[in-house]
């Protein structure tokens, strides 16, 4: 028991020592952080005239002069932080001029050296700053480090920095390869990182669509989202038959949204895909494109077993003008499938509400209720009255 008691007393001393040490560290850290903050504010104040000089001459063709006199490491970092903040805000020649100033001040060189530091934190900080300065000089060392790095936060920071600094598409291609090689889920991140570049990445993405690596294909499809060129159609049609569910879904969505005139049988075949996710994606995209030829297929999709397919089909029909709305009214009246009619009724209700609300807002009550009149054709005037009255809130607002 005595030995246990001695051990316990020793433990008390250890705890007391650690508590004292912890409190000391806490107070030191607090004092240091307050002091550092004050120093930073003082340095920003000191270099205010230089920042004013930069602002005044940002549109001049001549390069910036670096600050005069020797700078302490903290001063250099304070100026660098300000320059990086501006580089993010400006575009074109102004951004390049600020980047050139960073290069002239040897800031890029300084962080390039830090990239090879043995400390992970320093490497990460350097990678982040090099990206922030958007200097082309940084691309090669960043890519080299990416090649050695495992999957982790540093790899993602390096990738983002490469995207910011890259001057050529090949550099971005290598970056994408390195980023997606570790994990198949990284394509979402890769597509997002690509948004950082100032280059036109379309040719690179077209190249990636042909790649054997599925991650690169998915990255390309995600990054191309929103592009509607019909030049993409042959490659997309090929990918729409892919075995990979996600590739198929992304390709089909793009094909529909790109405004291709697609044969009805193709749309119908996609709407009968075994994957509910793909059927829903097709139904959703058809509405965004507004292709009226797909109305019969969408009406049929209102009976789909998947709620999302029914939901998007109804929504898309509502986006297809009078013909789509008429189809919704018909579906609401049909008794063969309660799921279909309920979904159609919900959508009709929402559309009437929206129409009524915005018509009132625009003060164009008469003549603006197209959907209301269509609705009355199907359900009669009498049924429309309780419907509107059933809607709470102040309708005259």
């Amino acid at each position: 028991m005595f030995s246990n008691l001695d051990l316990a007393v020793a433990f008390i001393y250890v705890c007391l020592g650690l508590i004292g040490f912890g409190v000391l560290i806490l107070l030191t850290m607090k004092a240091r952080s307050i002091m550092l903050e004050r120093k930073r504010s003082a340095l920003l104040e000191k270099h205010q005239p230089y920042f004013v000089y930069l602002q005044r001459h940002i549109v001049d063709p001549d390069p910036f002069q670096p600050p005069k006199g020797p700078l302490s490491p903290l001063e250099t970092r304070v100026i660098q932080d300000k320059l990086m903040e501006w580089i993010e805000k400006f575009r074109g020649a102004q951004r390049q001029k600020l980047t050139a100033l960073c290069e002239d001040m040897d800031l890029v060189q300084l962080d390039r050296k830090q990239l090879s530091s043995m400390f992970y934190a320093k490497q990460m900080k350097a990678a982040y700053r090099l990206g922030g300065m958007r200097s082309a000089q940084a691309v090669e060392p960043l890519i080299e480090l990416m090649k050695q790095e495992k999957d982790g936060p540093l790899l993602h920071v390096l990738a983002r920095s490469v995207a910011k600094c890259a001057e050529h598409l090949d550099q971005l291609y290598v970056m994408l390869q390195q980023l997606t090689r570790h994990r198949k889920g990284n394509y979402l991140n890769a597509a997002e990182v690509l948004e950082e570049t100032s280059l036109d990445v379309t040719p690179l993405l077209l190249q990636c669509m042909e790649d054997r690596d599925h991650n690169l294909v998915k990255t390309a499809l995600l990054a191309l989202r929103g592009q509607t060129g019909v030049t993409l159609t042959p490659a997309l049609l090929r990918l729409a038959d892919s075995d990979d569910k996600e590739i198929r879904s992304l390709a089909v969505k793009m094909l529909v949204r790109a405004g291709n005139i697609l044969p009805e049988e193709t749309i119908c075949s996609w709407l009968t895909d075994p994957e509910g996710e793909i059927r829903a994606a097709v139904a959703e995209s058809l509405g965004q494109f507004g292709y009226e030829g797909s109305i019969p297929a969408l009406k049929q999709a209102l009976t789909d077993s998947d709620w999302w397919v029914r939901y998007h089909s109804a929504k898309s029909l509502a986006m297809m003008g009078d013909a789509g709305f008429r189809t919704l009214c018909e579906a609401a009246l049909e008794r063969d499938d309660p799921f279909k009619s309920d979904m159609a009724k919900d959508r009709i209700h929402e559309e009437l509400l929206r129409e009524h609300f915005f018509a009132n807002r625009r003060k164009q009550i008469s003549g603006a209720h197209t959907k209301q009149s269509l609705y009355e054709q199907y359900f009669g005037q009498a049924s429309s009255v309780p419907n509107i009255r059933g809607i709470g809130g102040d309708y005259s607002a």
Partner: protein, 462 residues
Amino acid sequence: MYYVIIVNTIYFGIMLFSLKSVFSIVRRKRYALSGSLVGSEHVPPVSLLVPSYNEELTIIENVRSLMTLNYPTYEVIVINDGSTDETMKVLIDEFELFHMDNLAVRYSVNCTKIKAIYHNPEYPHLYVIDKLNGGKADSLNAGINFSHYPLISSIDADSLLEKDSLIQMANMYMSNPEEYVAIGGNVRIANGCTIENGTVKEVRLPKKWWPMFQTCEYLKAFLGGRIGWSAINGLIIVSGAFGLFRKDYIIKVGGYRGGYPGEDMNIIIKLHRYMLENKLPYRIAFCPEAVCWTQAPDTYHILSNQRKRWGRGNLKNMIENYDMTFRPKYKVFGMLSLPYTIIFEALNPYFKITGLLSLIGYALYDMTSWNIVGVFLTINFLSGLLLAIGSLLIEEIAFKRYPRVSDMFRMLAFSVLMFFGYRQLGSLWRIQGHIQYFQKNNSWGAMTRQSWKEKSEQVKSA
């Protein structure tokens, strides 16, 4: 004695994991979040679910705050859980909501039938669900059934999110979307802070004692504990106040379990069980940089009710899931997290009381000396204080939310004071919660709210 050694070893082990992870958190916070993410179309859309029961005082400010988050695509779904006050009316009046039929709401997970859905096309991303009272879990299930996006986030109606909180979580999710199934946010106490337009403008410590104790307690639990548990994928709870989840998996595990409190712990246990039984790679993580500010109870009555409820919920979860303990199939969760929670959390008050009473009894009957009792109590106090200081260190290294030196001293002082009354009360409340459980008392207990505006004005005038 052995109990104290084991529990302290686990506490210190988890604290070491937290301290180890804190540097990567700092780096993630500084370098990994890009400003462009907020406008990116690649960020997955999120449905924010806000269950509300009698929240007429805070709901408007909270919804307005939620509608201005820095996040590209999201919807706010407020679920009025049969409030008996004016919650529904203030929402309808403030946002000029219109009643909608919504016959086609799907019921992917069980919930009380939805009475009505309210919407205003002027706020296209805001929906209010009105339903009969069914509890918080039931409300969340109703929100899941109505939601339109693949990720859901549960948010308490008495909490305020920081503008970047959701994007911080999405950033973490996007770094490994195939494995993250749930991500928890960091809950901080808003009492004492200055709040303007649904945003915490100035961070200050609470003036009152009860919230101040809770501030220290939350720092210890979230920074000292959850960071460490997250590092070993052993988190047993994602706070109900703020968490992000993959909807498909929530539906696969049957949604939230109603009928008892502790639904936030229950859903995480179910997720662990499902993923491990199906041998799916997964991660349940804690994202301390995603901050949610909440109103802490500031009276004894409300705080005791809250803690008794937590005690009941915790016990129910442990009884339901004890079969997972010490089974290698359930990995870290079954071998460490769950046994730890059962032995050192749920049963902790009993061990404490019996241990202390035995020691006192031994001393009274001269079977041991009073010195030993003193040593035992001192160890208990110092090890707890050491853990509290560890949490304060993590706070200072990674977050620095409390800027003044006086804040540091106050937190240190309250970390000491906690051991003289507050912690003992905590044990008492937990036991009372267990008694309520066996008495089948399943009420939520009184929770009064105070308007954020009033709170802020009180702080300013203080």
